[in-house]
């Protein structure tokens, strides 16, 4: 149990670092070469950063000593003057340069760059890469997560829908799903949107369960971080944005560009503020979801990393116990946050749509 190798392997699966509050703690020095064991604060930090990002292969865990990864590769689909499709095993977890149709690609910080045959990554003075980025439509780990979620949702709700054909009362998984559907309809859509809510229910239901299930998947040891990815939340918020603007009625636009009931100078002042408000609302949506989920992942991983960072002070048993207790507690909170963020996203979407379709008298 105190075998450090096993502990380190477990670590790689679970993850690490408390950010500021462990400054005073010494990390035990260890191998810091590429693919080695993770011991220092910097390595832990890097590991967390790595986890937060999308990945081109699906790794369950890594043996730090031998550098072997247990998992499976995923397809890489790139667009760079033509379509390039190959398996991510060609990157060998960032160690190799992949060649496709006379072009060379390499991974750098989990992102694909075009390189020369040697896989050289050029950095400018500020440390930014100058290599060209191909358009990356790969089936990454996040895409796998989204596909899995979609599949789960489709199977679950299809069975609920089919169940109604036989009896009026759902059976099995439908017993859990039906109250949730009713909840979204009666507690989120109807009160916020008003009488025209029916048109928007499919979107609200889909986005609610999509975010919630992705959040929950992120809490499993599979290590998805889909809703903590800015590209995903931007996508969701954009849909809400366009849905709001396209369903906006005359009064909605009038309130933005020519606010009724105020003097003309005020109308002119309010116009840019209201226009800005159109964009800040969905922006707040996307940042809120992204930041909450990312923060949750960082906190949980940091608490787990206490096993390493506090090992020299308290010994492996005590640090593991503290780490487990705290991480367990935070994970319970994260379960709540997973629901809460899905609820808030859906609720605010409904609220914005409701503002756009509201009838003024």
């Amino acid at each position: 149990m105190i075998n450090p190798t096993i502990m380190r392997n477990a670590l790689l699966l679970l993850l690490l670092i408390s950010l500021i509050n462990v400054n005073s703690l010494f990390a035990v020095a260890g191998g810091s070469e590429e693919g080695g064991q993770i011991d220092t604060k910097e390595e832990i930090n890097e590991y967390i950063q790595h986890h937060l990002q999308d990945s081109h292969d699906f790794t369950f865990w890594t043996n730090g000593k031998t550098g072997t990864h247990i998992g499976f590769p995923l397809p890489v689909i790139l667009w760079s003057d033509g379509l390039h499709v190959f398996s991510s095993s060609e990157f060998d977890h960032g160690h190799e340069v992949a060649e496709s149709k006379d072009k060379y690609f390499a991974l750098y910080h989990s992102k694909v760059y075009e390189t020369n045959a040697e896989g050289e990554i050029k950095l400018d003075d500020e440390g930014h890469t100058v290599n060209a980025k191909p358009l990356d439509f790969s089936i990454t780990k996040n895409v796998v997560g989204m596909l899995l979620t979609s599949l789960l949702m489709f199977i679950g709700f299809r069975s609920l829908a089919k169940g109604y054909g036989k009896t009026a009362i759902p059976k099995g998984v439908g017993r859990i799903l039906e109250p949730l559907v009713v909840y979204v309809r009666d507690e989120i859509a109807r009160p916020n949107i008003g009488p025209k809510y029916e048109k928007f229910i499919p979107y609200l239901l889909t986005v609610f369960f999509y975010i919630w299930i992705l959040n929950l998947l992120g809490l499993t040891p599979l290590g998805f971080n889909v809703t903590g990815n800015i590209a995903v939340t931007v996508g969701l918020a954009l849909i809400t944005f366009f849905l709001t603007q396209f369903s906006g009625n005359k009064e909605y636009w009038k309130h933005i560009f020519w606010m009724p009931g105020v003097p003309i100078p005020m109308k002119i002042i309010l116009m840019p503020i209201e226009v800005l408000g159109m964009f800040t609302k969905p922006f707040a949506l996307l940042i809120r979801l992204f930041a909450n989920i990312t923060a949750g992942h960082v906190v949980v991983m940091s608490l787990i990393a206490l096993i390493i960072t506090m090992r020299s002070q308290f010994g492996i048993v005590a640090s593991s116990s503290i780490s487990f207790g705290l991480a367990f507690f935070i994970t319970l909170i994260e379960l709540l946050v997973a629901f809460l963020q899905a609820y808030i996203f859906t609720m605010l979407s409904a609220l914005f749509i409701g503002m756009a379709v509201e009838e003024h008298h």
Partner: protein, 166 residues
């Protein structure tokens, strides 16, 4: 912020939109629509059932009130009938009584009359008998005493006078 923009992957953004919109379309058609329709139908039927239960309850209460009223009316009717019957019975009894009394009176008076007639008839018979007897007596007397007509005649007259007086 710069980190965020750097982390933003256009490819993932595209894949996410694609997956989400396809999922939205599929679920809308194959799941949300039937689910929401079924829910609505079920809620409608529940509301209907509750309404009809309420109606039935009202109907029941009305029926009960009607029954009560009918019962009350029946009771009154019964009382009335009973009273009438009693009255009639009493009347019949009274009539029977008075009839009987009249009958008795008439019979008594009839009997009296009959007695009177009988008495008179009897008296007449007696008178006749007496007269016959007298005549017989007189005859016998006459047969014995034919000597004096005048005296005989006066004697007969005396007899007659006495008879009449009786």
């Amino acid at each position: 912020m710069e980190q965020l923009i750097n982390d933003f992957s256009p490819g993932l953004f595209f894949m996410q939109l694609l997956i989400f919109l396809v999922l939205l379309g599929l679920l809308s058609k194959f799941a949300w629509k039937p689910i929401l329709n079924s829910l609505k139908a079920r809620e409608g039927s529940i509301a209907d059932a509750l309404q009809s239960a309420e109606n039935a309850k009202e109907e029941m209460a009305k029926l009960q009130a009607d029954n009560q009223k009918l019962l009350q009316e029946a009771r009154l009717e019964r009382d009335k009938l009973l009273k009438e019957a009693t009255d009639i019975a009493n009347k019949i009894k009274e009539e029977a009584k008075s009839d009987a009394a009249k009958q008795a009176d008439r019979m008594i008076s009839d009997a009296k009359n009959a007695i009177e007639v009988e008495k008179k008839a009897a008296l007449k018979e007696v008178t006749t008998k007496v007269a016959e007897l007298s005549l017989e007596i007189a005859e016998k007397l006459i047969r014995k005493n034919l000597s004096d007509d005048k005296a005989q005649k006066a004697l007969a007259e005396d007899f007659m006078k006495d008879l009449k007086l009786n």
